[in-house]
């Protein structure tokens, strides 16, 4: 005789007993004896095919029979069998759409609700909307703040970066206290403070060909706040493949662009730019700079477009590229058409799955750290030469406005672009050590001077940034 413990809710089918003693030498035999004696129990535990229902586990004493010999597990007289359900769940998948707003939400969104273009229906659409932000930087900052405030129900953020001081001039979702924190956490906290009703999914990864489809598929649309070409093409292609609108924005110095790509019937990023520019041709914000307010304006155009798409009101930027020039304070607009031969959004696309976008954009897989090349000189060695009073010329090839930020006092400033016409100011018999911000431009200067017949030219490795790190920490970094 083995004992079978009956879970509370099933006792009504087992003569109200909490345990039953049954004959049988295996688990299968005991369970069969149980359902023979109490036929009503059968459909609670077994499915129509006579197998244990998916959520039912059977334990022999403390062991799951699946890890023993299942139904063939031998049962001794002193053994106890228990029927234990598997239980799990969660708020995540396929939430039923909400159909109402709470009293607090009605108060919070009242300035939306009194406009018929939004109203209760629109606000409920916003609450049911799921938007993915790629990047929590310049564009992601205003987007996160305003989409959360507007009541978008679920916002995913993809970012793997950490807040640093150079971000604070424009990435207003992060504060000085957040320097060193993950941008995801900093953005999450700020958005939750603005609107605790918003659910935020944090993806602490770089969006890649391996994860993009899975991440994006849970959302209604993507808002692209990235700053590099490989990710832009990746987001575009993934959105086209998944048929999700891609609300696009980009910024550089004083100018920005925004539009909506991959909307059904509309053009995609590849219709506009079939091929990426050669690497290095278009400078990034880190290289070329950006007016701190600019991402605010472009990000909020993107936020406006996202909200309009959710509400289904107004005229979206589908098929129109909005160009903004902050210095002229002018908006212009270009018509965009679908490219009938677009490799991704054409009716017979040649690109039907995600590719290697680093390679597509001509970026080497692992950009090799520039080696110490012949003619390089370390900042500490330059310092030693200065201290010894060696005769040489320290040549700064940066721009005058960079020289104003910080400089090495004995250096002579000739911007790289001016070098050809000012080369006669240099004495080829004196050793020349060139430097710039990080060592790239000065390497070009060294090449140029060598081609011009200078023999004693060297490049200070790592530029003034390395000087600040290795020689004089009082020199500010920018």
């Amino acid at each position: 005789m083995a004992k079978v413990l009956i879970p509370t809710p099933l006792r009504q089918f087992a003569g109200k007993q909490d345990s039953v003693e049954l004959e049988g030498s295996t688990v299968g035999e005991v369970l069969s004896a149980l359902t023979t004696q109490f036929p009503d129990l059968k459909k609670q535990i077994f499915n129509d095919e006579g197998k244990l229902r998916s959520f039912v586990n059977v334990y022999l004493n403390d062991e799951d029979i699946r890890y023993l010999k299942k139904n063939e597990t031998v049962v001794a007289a002193a053994d106890t069998l228990s029927i234990v359900p598997s239980i799990a769940g969660g708020s995540t998948v396929a939430e039923p759409p909400v159909t109402t707003l709470s009293k607090d939400e009605i108060l919070r969104y009242s300035r939306h609700l009194i406009m018929p273009e939004v109203g209760m229906d629109g606000q409920i659409k916003l609450k049911n909307a799921k938007v993915l932000l790629v990047g929590a930087g310049g564009l992601g900052a205003p987007l996160g703040l305003y989409l959360a405030a507007a009541g978008v129900g679920r916002i995913g953020i993809v970012d793997f970066d950490v807040v640093d001081f150079t971000n604070l001039q424009r990435q207003v979702i992060h504060g000085t206290k957040d320097v060193g924190r993950k941008k995801l956490d900093s953005a999450h906290d700020r958005m939750k403070d603005i609107n605790p009703n918003v659910h935020i999914d944090r993806y602490d990864v770089a969006l890649s060909s391996e994860n993009a489809l899975e991440i994006i598929s849970s959302y209604d649309m993507v808002v692209d706040g990235t700053d590099n070409f490989p990710t832009r093409y990746l987001v575009n292609d993934a959105c086209v493949i998944l048929k999700k609108p891609n609300v696009y924005g980009s910024i550089f110095r004083f100018e920005g662009q925004a539009t909506v790509f991959a909307y059904p019937g509309g053009p995609c990023y590849r219709c506009l730019y079939p091929e990426p520019p050669p690497p290095g041709l278009v400078p990034s914000c880190a290289e070329g700079g950006v007016l701190g307010i600019l991402p605010g304006i472009i990000g909020l155009i993107q936020a406006t477009e996202a909200v309009k798409l959710i509400l289904g009101v107004g005229e979206s930027l589908v098929g129109r590229l909005m160009l903004y020039d902050a210095l002229a304070m002018k908006f212009r607009e270009l018509k965009l058409r679908r490219n009938p031969e677009c490799p991704v959004c054409d009716d017979h696309p040649t690109v039907t799955k995600l590719i290697d976008y680093q390679q597509f954009c001509g970026i080497p897989q692992h950009a090799p750290e520039p080696e110490f090349v012949e003619g390089d000189i370390m900042p500490a060695e330059v310092k030693a030469k200065l201290d010894r009073g060696d005769k040489f010329l320290l040549l700064d090839v940066r721009e005058p406005h960079e020289y104003q930020i910080c400089n090495i006092p004995s250096a002579k400033l000739i911007p790289l672009g001016d070098l050809p016409k000012r080369v006669n100011e240099l004495d080829s018999s004196t050793e020349i050590i060139a430097h710039c911000k990080s060592g790239m431009r000065s390497a070009k200067a060294v090449d140029f001077l060598k081609q011009s017949g200078f023999k004693k030219v060297r490049n200070m490795k790592g530029g003034i940034l390395a000087w600040s790190d290795q020689v004089d920490p009082s020199v500010p970094k920018y």
Partner: protein, 141 residues
């Protein structure tokens, strides 16, 4: 109808708030008379879901078995399961329904910004295709 006593309720709310922003889970013990369930104590159980727990929970069958033993030792019945929905309303999601079992009452606690907000109780049907809301009475403070 399921009625929860203050002592049990305190355990459930404390657990839901302390695990925020992750989901919590646990079991409810008490007595049943006809359709009336009376929860007198609750046991917090570790969320065993392997992955982001912000919107998922899982109870190990071993933990459920141990809770059932506890209940029997106290001459109580295991009558329900509770879990939380952080920053989400207390509805019974599709995930909840598909991974539940029709035998128990499922109490969902909505926790918003780390504070308990509201709760509902659900009874999944035999095929776990729909869950009916059942009247839930908790001590209002």
């Amino acid at each position: 109808m399921i009625k929860i006593e203050p002592g049990a309720w305190q355990i459930m709310v404390d657990h839901a708030q302390s695990t925020f922003p992750d989901e919590c889970c646990g079991v409810m013990l008490g007595t049943t008379e006809g359709d009336a369930k009376h929860v007198t104590t609750a046991i917090a159980v570790e969320n065993a879901y392997k992955g982001k727990q912000e919107d998922r929970y899982e109870i190990r069958p071993e933990d459920l078995l141990a809770a059932d033993k506890d209940a029997r030792a106290q001459a109580l019945d295991l009558i329900g399961i509770f879990h939380s929905h952080p920053d989400c309303d207390a509805y019974f999601s599709k995930t909840d329904l598909e991974n539940s079992c029709p035998w128990y009452s499922f109490v969902v606690l909505s926790v918003k910004g780390g504070k308990f907000d509201h709760a509902n109780s659900f009874r999944p049907n035999a095929d776990q295709t729909i869950a009916e809301k059942e009247e839930l009475i908790w001590p209002k403070s």
